[in-house]
């Protein structure tokens, strides 16, 4: 908690956001990232995909990363891709937990990671039971 945001590869197009790990602030992350995506040449549909992926990631931090009071979202923009990192400093999880499934019976839950993987072009989870979860996901601009 409360660590300064690390900047290994600070670039000109880096936007960093921190929100409290509470449901009411997810909309802020969603809209800020949509505004970032708007600066690239994304279609409206792609921007909606990115919004949803970020929201799912934040929702998971809030619901599963116990002990983390903040969520850190960084956006790195290129002319041809948007890379978004969502991380918490809470109680993490085991890699096996990060599974995604399609629905074939009405069961509540378990759709977040599936949606993230479906909507983004590259998704990498760095999970650790103690250190919290670090998700890096990329959406490519398709011209």
């Amino acid at each position: 908690m409360n660590q300064p945001i690390a900047h290994p590869n600070r670039s000109a197009g880096l936007v960093e956001l921190r929100i409290p790990s509470k449901a009411e602030w997810v909309a802020v992350a969603r809209l800020a990232v949509a505004a970032v995506a708007n600066r690239l040449n994304f279609s409206i549909e792609d921007i909606e995909d990115v919004k949803l992926a970020v929201a799912e990631a934040c929702t998971n931090c809030i619901q599963h990363a116990h002990g983390s009071d903040q969520i850190e979202i960084t956006c790195e923009t290129d002319s041809d891709a948007l890379t978004i990192r969502v991380r918490d400093y809470g109680q993490g999880t085991r890699p096996e937990a990060i599974q995604s499934r399609r629905v074939d019976e009405p069961r509540v839950g378990g759709l977040g990671v599936f949606l993230i993987r479906s909507l983004m072009d590259a998704v990498e989870y760095d999970v650790h039971p103690e250190r919290g979860t670090n998700l890096v996901m990329t959406k490519k601009v398709t011209a």
């Binding site: 799912e56 929702t59 399609r102 009405p106 069961r107 509540v108 759709l111």
Partner: protein, 114 residues
């Protein structure tokens, strides 16, 4: 960034839940409560109108799935009205199109119910 929920009685013993806004981890409890109230009162045939919903995430989907599960236990069902292509896409890629009846207008959703 909020949700408006409106519940209307329709023909037969069916109820329509109109949703207007965005359904996410913050707003979905309000939707869940509205649907839960109807079911608690014994109404098991519902149309949920998503025409004015601009955004839904997995928490919102979870509320809809949860509602469907509960009414099915009583032989009821939940039909959805949905025209937004982005939201339709979400039902599509999650496979929920195969679980919910999804209709382009309320009339059709209603007819399929009764």
């Amino acid at each position: 960034m909020d949700i408006k929920v409106n519940v209307r009685e329709a023909q037969g013993d069916t109820y329509v839940v109109d949703l207007n806004g965005e359904i996410d981890v913050y707003t979905s409890p309000k939707v869940k409560d509205a649907i839960g109230d109807l079911i608690d009162k014994g109404h098991y045939n519902l149309v949920i109108n998503l025409e004015k919903v601009r955004y839904i995430d997995s928490t919102g989907l979870g509320v809809l799935i949860g509602g469907l599960k509960r009414v099915r236990e009583h032989g009821g069902t939940v039909n959805l009205v949905c025209t937004n292509p982005q939201i339709k896409k979400i039902f599509d890629i999650t496979g929920l199109v195969k679980i919910f009846g999804i209709y382009d207008d309320e009339d059709a959703a209603m007819k399929a119910l009764v």
